[in-house]
Amino acid sequence: MQVQKSVLIVGGTSDIGRATALAYAQAGWRVLLAARNEDAARRNADDIAIRAEGNVSVHLLDILETTGFSAFVDSLPVLPDTVVCVVGELGDQAQAQVDLSHATLVLRTNFEGPALLLGLFAERFAARGSGTLVGVSSVAGDRGRASNYVYGSAKAGFTAFLSGLRNRLAPAGIKVVTTKPGFVRTRMTAGMKLPLVLTAEPDEVARAIIAAAELKGRDVVYVRGIWWMVMTIICGIPERIFKRLRI
């Protein structure tokens, strides 16, 4: 009998986390949901267990409590085959410009916490000789823009971290996948006017993650291909012009 594979979803109460967990469970994986809010995580875990007839457990984790990470990894019932980190905090750019504690929250939630946690798993995976790490980063990290550069710079850091990790661990057979969803219809973007062709549904992101991490073995994935084009154009604009644009 084949041993059931396991996946840890970090950010198990977010809409993308829920969709990704469900997609893995439906593919027959054991799912570990890590989240800060136990009730909310339990609510998702029960739902996923019913829908997928799967094995789903809840593990408490605060992405800002980095000192607890080692103990958290040790406390898991298994060292998962795959870890997907979907944690993100869009924050409020205007507030982040003037309120250092808010800016710190955005930077730490999008960069420090996810990077340190995945880095820790990378060490365990390297020791085991196998494993896949998926980081949900953002197109906002491709180039800093006036409207969201605090969030964007944290995501840029996360993207660079994943890139380095991939570069280092590829020879050891550890896969590192960077996902850039673009706009996604979730609670984080509720109330925003989003352009239809650029906006993915959470389950679309989930399918893209599984396809990249488990099926096709891609390294960097834009959930909707059109985002690659958009960001290539945006990144190609010379800085002396770009600095005067409002996009």
Partner: protein, 444 residues
Amino acid sequence: MTELSGWGRYPRHETELISAGTPAAIPSLLAERTGLIARGRGRAYGDAAIGDQTTLGSCQLNRMRSFDPVSGRLTVEAGVQLADILAVFVPRGFFPPVVPGTKFVTVGGMIAADVHGKNHHRVGGFGNHVEEMTLALPSGETVVCSRSRNTELFEATVGGMGLTGVIVEATFCLRPIETGWMRQHTVVAGNLDEAISALSASASASYSVAWIDCLALGPSLGRSLIYAAEHASVRHVESLRPGAELFPSSRRGRVSVPIDLPPFALGRVSVSAFNELYFRAGVITSGYPFLVPWDPYFFPLDGIGDWNRIYGRRGFVQYQCVIPISAARSTLGEILERITRVGTGSFLAVLKQLGPSSGLLSFPREGYTLALDLPVSRDVLQLLNELDEIVVAAGGRLYLAKDARQSPETFMAGYPHLARFQDLRRALGADGHLVSKLSARLNI
């Protein structure tokens, strides 16, 4: 403010639209506002799910809470879609006890409208199968009600159009099925009398419904096809369709109506031609049983996305009445004749036999129900006012989940338990607090 309408796209109203992220968030949302009503997927046709001031979207309350595979008992949050329940449980051999004509509805909406299916004559409405529900009351309290606990609240909430509280969770039993196929029998009825007789003769079937060709006139008024069906057993599938998958997968909407069609699209000639083809196809298959997957049998229109747009920007109303058995033949004949005479054609009308009622404001009662779609126009609205008089005179009533235009007088005449319902609403403090455009219009 957001402009909302029901599935018929008539009427349209401005309302504040908010959303409950978790069940725990509902009491405070409820406490902070008045003139509020909960909304599921917006499949009620008229103004039932538009808040007088605020509309509370429940679609994020979409978690399944528990399931017992032995008894089939399922507990879900109110915003869970029927389509999700079907997708998850049909392949495991379970089917909901009652399904309405579309699967794009929420469980909360199914209870609030006490929806009926093609099996109402056998098993009653959806509310009949709800064992227990959790309700957030205007007072901020959250209570559990069932047939043995908070009984009156339970009876008022089934079919109560969201006017007693916000439904948070519900528990009901799925029934076992051997396959995902329906074993269907088609009977051809040349006129309304034959259709009613055929429905009554097929009352022993689990499911039955008649599709009337609205444009057949004179002696063939009420010409229809009666579809009776059972869930097919494994043996049926093996003999009628050897080698077929036992649980055919739910299809995705393959086609959809991308734009609002212009008015002539539903002209008499095009509709007649459609109906003629539809009817002939039915006649060919009549007489012997054949297998149909559950999805097209129960939800034929769900295969066409946004079909409400065929009626154009002005929208349409669905007229659905129920007439007591004794008066059914003459009254339904008169209604059909009046509508066919105007010739602003519905494609088809649906005729069904209903069993006894359950909730205080539930639509179903023993009799026959007729439902048809009509594009909104001054003439149509005038015609419907006249039909209301016929319905009231026959002791019938109109379905609130379809209604966009009846008068308070018509409503009062059809719903004898209204006073009890209003008393309960006052006692709950729901009066003035939970208000939809429909309840304001009908003085509920």
